[in-house]
């Protein structure tokens, strides 16, 4: 019912006043426009950093934190962008195995300074590695075959291996093994003593400050907000191009897209293929692509619950019934490659051509023939588990449905089992899954890290009793220091992995990164730390 007209209401300019306030507030809200000098002196990177647990190098093993860690710490050796096979000198100028076969002697580059201005010495190198060996966090696991580290003189260090057949130089190129300035770390509670696991208290400080010789120095980390760095004026390769580097947390790719279009960020790392496509005609933005060393694969287990999967031929049939090209073209927007097996394209001995030659390729008659040979002419059923996540815009959900449809063509029924990531991991690592869609990203581009995983811990997940000659092949290839000879062994490894058919690699994404044209010299890398910031400068 309508009451009588009530005078005095609806006349006050309340809303108008509020709107006016809002307008004036927003009008002054963009003090730093994209052209201001402060803006040009800062490199702003948009990145999802919610996974980062620590910026203390000995505890850096997630996906996003190697980027700032590499910017703050240089290591003894490194990889150049675009070459993930040959290790290059960094703080060490040369290295060689001593005649005892198990000691690697590093000569340090003379006169290199930390961001503090102090000179990098052999003792700093020893301390950095000794702290790893004592704290034993995840990065230590990659070099657990290092026995000890010793100072020879001020510019010479020895790394002594327990097992000299295992590779180490390629692994210590990873940012976790960046060299820390001992005096600073110790002054803030750090130690390399045997009880460092409990006694070392430097992590809290190192999460907000760095003690390295990299191009930038960490000055703050507000979790889920941003990581701040400033230029290291003493950087040995020459003064870095920016006053500051800011890594801005943006978990939503759509927000990253808007921010790079507006010029609030200079680099956007987490855009999905459709968003990249919208930027292709933007005059201010270029798209840089770099093939990653990450891949999505399907693990197929010899599950006790599924006799069909225990048959190698049946597993091979799965591999030949998948439309790999369709996955890359339609799900990954064409921005992906596919390796033969558990060694990504771009590592020693793995190429796309080899995949065509000896890998799984869609061949339905062959798949049917394999099924018939396996005594399963009408196909079989298995459960395919996957998590609620996406890699480079490819959701596991879409991938699973595609595989389900592909396999149905030869009578293989994939029952989809979506679940959350932790449940999936618990089930898969416990060896309880029949088949799983999951992801692998390497700590360092060292082939042995992939191959040894497949015959050891990853083998247990797929209930695979690895034959002795396969173990030997992996060990021999890892011990081979001649890259060309190793490549031959790795070819053999991939061929055998395809035959065992426990790991069907589906997609190795080419990460597409949007960079504003005001930024020059940014080198993307697949080696594990996303980009080298040392040479980045305003264009």
């Amino acid at each position: 019912m309508a009451d009588q007209d009530e005078p005095g209401f609806g006349r006050r300019p309340l809303m108008a006043g509020a709107a006016g306030m809002l307008t004036s507030l927003l009008a002054g809200a963009r003090p730093a426009d994209a052209q201001s000098s402060a803006r040009r002196g800062a490199l702003v990177i948009g990145l999802d950093i919610s996974d980062a647990l620590s910026l203390d190098p000995v505890r850096v093993y997630q996906y996003s934190n190697p980027l700032p860690t590499r910017a703050a710490y240089d290591g003894l050796v490194t990889y150049d962008a675009g070459d993930n096979i040959t290790v290059k000198p960094a703080l060490a100028t040369e290295w060689s195995y001593l005649p005892d076969g198990k000691t690697i002697r590093f000569k340090l580059r003379p006169g290199v300074k930390f961001a503090s201005g102090a000179t990098v010495t052999a003792e700093d190198v020893r301390f950095s590695f000794a702290r790893h060996l004592a704290i034993k966090d995840q990065p230590f696991q990659y070099i657990s075959h290092v026995e000890s580290v010793a100072v020879v003189d001020a510019t010479t260090v020895d790394l002594v291996l327990k097992d000299p057949t295992l590779p180490v130089i390629s692994i210590i190129a990873t940012p976790a093994f960046g060299i820390q300035e001992k005096s600073q770390v110790v002054a803030n509670g750090g130690t390399d003593a045997a009880d460092a696991k409990d006694k070392d208290k430097a992590t809290e400080w190192l999460n907000n400050n760095s003690a390295g010789a990299g191009p930038y120095r960490l000055t703050g980390w507000q979790r889920n907000q941003q990581i701040q760095m400033v230029r290291n004026p003493h950087y040995w390769r020459g003064a870095p191009g920016y006053e500051r580097v800011l890594i801005r947390h943006m978990s939503e790719s759509a927000a990253q897209l808007l921010a790079i279009q507006r010029g609030d960020i200079d680099v956007a790392f987490n855009l999905i293929p459709e968003q990249i496509a919208t930027l292709e005609n933007d005059p201010n933005i270029s798209i840089m692509g770099t093939p990653s060393l990450d891949f999505i694969y399907m693990a197929v287990a010899e599950a006790p619950s599924n006799p069909a999967l225990q048959n190698k031929l049946a597993r091979q049939a799965i591999g030949h019934a998948i439309d790999f090209d369709g996955i890359i073209k339609n799900l990954a927007g064409g921005a992906a490659v596919r390796p033969t097996s558990f060694l990504p394209v771009g590592t020693n001995g793995s190429t796309e051509a080899l995949t065509k030659e000896i890998g799984f390729n869609e061949d339905l008659p062959k798949a049917r023939r394999l099924l018939a040979e396996a005594g399963l002419p009408n196909g079989f059923k298995f459960q395919l588990a996957y998590g609620n996540a996406a890699i480079a815009g490819v959701t596991y959900q879409n991938l699973a449905q595609k595989i389900q449809a592909d396999l149905a063509r030869v009578g293989i029924v994939a029952e989809l089992a979506p679940m959350d990531q932790v449940n999936l991991r618990t089930m898969f690592l416990g060896g309880k899954a029949e088949a799983v869609l999951t992801f692998w990203n390497p700590p360092a581009p060292e082939n042995w890290l992939w191959t040894s995983a497949t015959v050891n811990r990853v083998a247990r997940r797929v209930v695979w009793d690895v034959p002795a000659d396969m173990h030997k092949l992996v060990a021999d290839a890892g011990a081979e220091r001649d890259l060309a000879k190793a490549a031959v062994l790795y070819r053999e490894y991939q061929k055998r992995m395809v035959d065992f058919a426990h790991h069907i690699v589906l997609v190795q994404p080419v990460y597409q990164v949007a960079v504003r044209k005001s930024v020059g010299g940014l080198n993307l890398t697949a080696a594990g730390w996303m980009a080298d910031l040392a040479a980045a400068k305003p264009a």
Partner: protein, 337 residues
């Protein structure tokens, strides 16, 4: 009155404990293993290291003992160490809470400032354009998915029009003020840094509007309904019969009576804003408790989940208590009873 407050507080403690117990039991029936979520690939595959991890975090103890330890620590004000961040949960919460508190409070004030007058006017001028507007606002506010609304607002006012700043609490290259309270508006004001204050305020505009939307809708609707009911009561008719001004009838007689359900709703809505801003925080890159809670849940971070449960339960129970007490102020009949 004091006895009433004390008995209510005692009940409140029991309620909070019950909530933590329920969450504890639920969290423990999830098949996901915290060790698998927290450890790297190599460590997670090594039974020795997994055992070590479980022992370190007390995950190998019987369930009742784990809960008992939680209670004992809670009694000492110790919320434990987060498995996923490896820091004291309290430190995490102190880091993240101010961003949420600031956003939720602004959003709440905004929804009151707009929702109350709109609801009142809509009821008084029923079926007028104001009423239609109010119903439209309420409908959009309540039914538009926050995620969608957040993107639309960001795309229009930031992406297209460039009126509002982008995601985050401050411009990327701004220097955050020294932390005093963690509330940027207050910290910048205390430091006298008005440029950063303005930056922070501007960054609050879009997310607080988005976050306020659903609360605003609820408050508008409830106010309107309560006002309509009040305007139909005998005392309003009497007041009008006495020849009182329409404004006096509305503000003096109808509004105070209509406020009771609105206060109840408002209290709960504020508690909701404080605890449930995951979507808004995600889209706007807001480093708040919502994202922290979400991450704790997906990584099965028991200590963080338990601490947040206790805090959320306490917030709700306290807000309810305050709402009930405020009845006494608003309605003399309750105070006398």
């Amino acid at each position: 009155m004091i006895r009433y407050v004390i008995s209510r507080l005692a009940t409140a403690v029991v309620m909070v404990l019950l909530a933590t117990l329920v969450i504890f039991l639920i969290a423990n029936t999830v098949p996901g293993d915290p060790a698998m979520a927290a450890l790297g690939d190599m460590q997670a595959s090594d039974p020795v290291q997994v055992r070590e991890f479980r022992a370190r975090w007390g995950l190998d103890l019987p369930l009742w003992e784990q809960y008992w330890l939680f209670l004992k620590r809670l009694a000492q004000g110790d919320l434990g160490i987060s498995i996923s961040s490896r820091r004291p949960v309290l430190a995490d919460i102190i880091d993240y809470a101010p961003a949420t508190l600031e956003l939720a409070t602004i959003a709440f004030l905004l929804s009151l400032a707009v929702g109350l007058p709109l609801g009142v006017v809509a009821a008084v001028k029923r079926d007028s354009w104001v009423d239609h507007l109010a119903r439209f606002v309420a409908l959009i506010g309540v039914s538009a998915p926050t995620f969608w609304l957040a993107f639309i607002m960001l795309a229009i006012f930031y992406g297209q029009l460039d009126w509002a700043p982008g995601p985050g609490r401050l411009d990327p290259i701004a220097f955050p003020p020294d932390r005093i309270t963690g509330l940027l508006l207050i910290d910048t004001a205390l430091a006298g840094d008005w440029e950063t204050f303005r930056d922070a305020a501007a960054h609050l505009v879009l997310p607080s509007i988005v976050l306020a939307a659903s609360t605003l809708g609820l408050i508008t609707r409830t106010t309107r309904a309560a006002m309509l009911e009040a305007l139909n009561q005998d005392y309003v008719r009497v007041a009008r019969a006495k020849g009182l001004l329409a404004r006096v009838v509305v503000t003096g007689h109808a509004v105070p009576n209509a406020m009771l359900p609105v206060v109840t709703l408002g209290g709960l809505a504020y508690a909701n804003l404080l605890t449930g801003a995951v979507m808004t925080e995600t889209v706007f890159g807001w480093p708040g408790l919502g994202r922290y809670t979400f991450r704790s849940a997906v990584t099965v971070d028991f200590p963080a989940i338990m601490a947040i449960t206790a805090i959320v339960a306490a917030i709700f129970v306290l807000v309810n208590l305050l709402v009930d007490l405020s009845y006494a102020l608003l309605d003399p009949r309750v105070a006398r009873a």
